[in-house]
Amino acid sequence: MKLRAENVHHNFGATAALAPTTLEVQDGEFASIVGPSGCGKSTLFNIISGLLRPTAGRVFLDEHDVTGQTGRVGYMLQKDLLLPWRTVTQNIVLGASLTGRVTRKDKEEAVALARRYGLGEFVDHYPHTLSGGMRQRVALMRTLAVHKDVMLLDEPFGALDSQTRLRMQQWLLDVWQDQQRTVLFITHDVDEAIFLSDRVHVMSARPGAFRASYDIDLPRPRSIEILTSPAFIEMKREILQLIYSETLKQLAQEGEAA
């Protein structure tokens, strides 16, 4: 399913959180957004997920206008937000119990997801027994289990240590290849964005707007070795330079204002 945000922008009172922004993610594409904190990435996500009505602009899934409608895309945050009183399986089927009935099929599917993606022994465990990485896996399974073709992942690995993070990135790529969904991924880690994505969009700060987009032509499936390949380094240099010049501009502006 294709995702398209057309000229969406949002003002909180008098301050513009997000300048008019247009973004397109192709069916089955893995797209990332990188940018400094406070650049309106999360505002954009809240608009796409329907939690926030944009001041102006529209959101389309394929050709359907879904502006301000919730329940159309999968959504995952940095915090795993697992409910402590639900077992792994029950957490995975949360979407079904919030919007309808949990059927036997939902439960079977949750168990199958857990088995398939390495948590088979923990289906009946409460979240407090799991490690941070395992909890984020369950959170992703919960997002997969709502059967939305478009998934928004807002810094899902931001709270993990770097080793776990690397493993989770590879795992996410496996899942994505397996499930063939459209992914929009927020991060401020340029390495992570390049490693995972087909396309990386760079945002500038206050009010947030897209500065540039880069196609990542690195071959798939990708392994850790690619992180040190010349093509990867070149890509990273280019993106970092853009972000760095943005940061300098911002600092200069703040200096003038002060």
Partner: protein, 278 residues
């Protein structure tokens, strides 16, 4: 091993207290109307059982009914206050102010309004439990992660489902903290109720009667039984807590003997995911 020491240690300590009590009375030859020997207290329970037993049941009745009435009212009010900000803003200061009023003062008024029957005692016990329940449940509702609610909304959930699946289960832990506290001092509430609004029956009344006769063994008999009610109440609530919030102490839910788990064949289930996602 830990289980055993959990039971053995308090029992041994209680026995030691009774032992020391007995020795002190003997050594200092304390008069029995000042402090009776422990065995005299137990003897009193034995000989006066015909009076004590109905008195105890009456106090238990006041305690149990008042307890549940207090929980129900407190819980409902907390939910209403949690969901409607305007009610919370208006009522919360009043609620806190109400706690400054000594319960015994209300007790006198309750007798005028409700007479000498069971009702005023139930109301006093309920009033005592009510406040910690409201405060704790309200806390539980307020501490729900805003992001969890956003996530549920993004999944397409309405306010009723969000309340039932996300907010409500979160109130269980603070609710039980309140109940464990309340279990012990609501016995005090029942006695207070009896003192202000009773002519007959109840351990509180028995205690006053024995006191006026300088029968200290009788006073201590009532105290022991009141303590027993409080302890049993506390243990029952702690047990209920274990059953109601298994995730706090266990890694997996209890297996219920009559609920079989759904067997899942790996191949069939895998197919269902792949089929759905494309």
């Amino acid at each position: 091993m830990r289980r055993v020491s959990q039971i053995v240690l308090p029992v041994a300590l209680t026995a030691a207290v009774f032992g020391i009590w007995d020795i002190v009375v003997n050594v200092f030859t304390i008069q029995s109307y000042v402090l009776p020997r422990p065995y005299a207290v137990f003897a009193q329970i034995g000989t006066d059982w015909d009076v004590l037993q109905p008195a105890m049941w009456q106090t238990i009745e006041e305690f149990v009914i008042g307890f549940f009435v207090g929980i129900a009212c407190g819980f409902v009010l907390a939910v209403v206050m949690g969901e409607l900000r305007i009610v919370r803003r208006g009522l919360y200061p009043l609620l806190i102010a109400s706690q400054a009023i000594p319960i015994i003062a209300i007790g006198a008024a309750l007798v005028i309004w409700l007479g000498f029957g069971l009702t005023p005692k139930v109301v006093i016990v309920a009033l005592i439990i009510f406040f910690p329940v409201v405060v704790n449940v309200l806390d539980g509702l307020a501490n729900v992660d805003r992001d969890t609610i956003s996530l549920a909304r993004a999944m397409g959930a309405g306010p009723v489902r969000i309340f039932l699946h996300i907010k409500l289960p979160g109130t269980l832990t603070p609710l039980f903290s309140a109940l464990k506290l309340a279990a012990t001092f609501s016995v005090t509430g029942a006695v207070l109720g009896e003192w202000t609004a009773s002519t007959n029956g109840g351990l509180g009344v028995y205690l006053l009667e024995q006191n006026s006769r300088l029968n200290t063994a009788g006073v201590f008999a009532a105290i022991l039984l009141l303590a027993a009610i409080g302890i049993v109440g506390f243990l029952l609530i702690a047990g209920a807590e274990q059953l109601a919030t298994p995730w706090r102490t266990r890694s997996t839910p209890r297996r219920l003997p009559f609920r079989r788990r759904v067997p899942v064949t790996r191949a069939a289930a895998t197919q269902s995911i792949k089929g759905e996602s494309s």
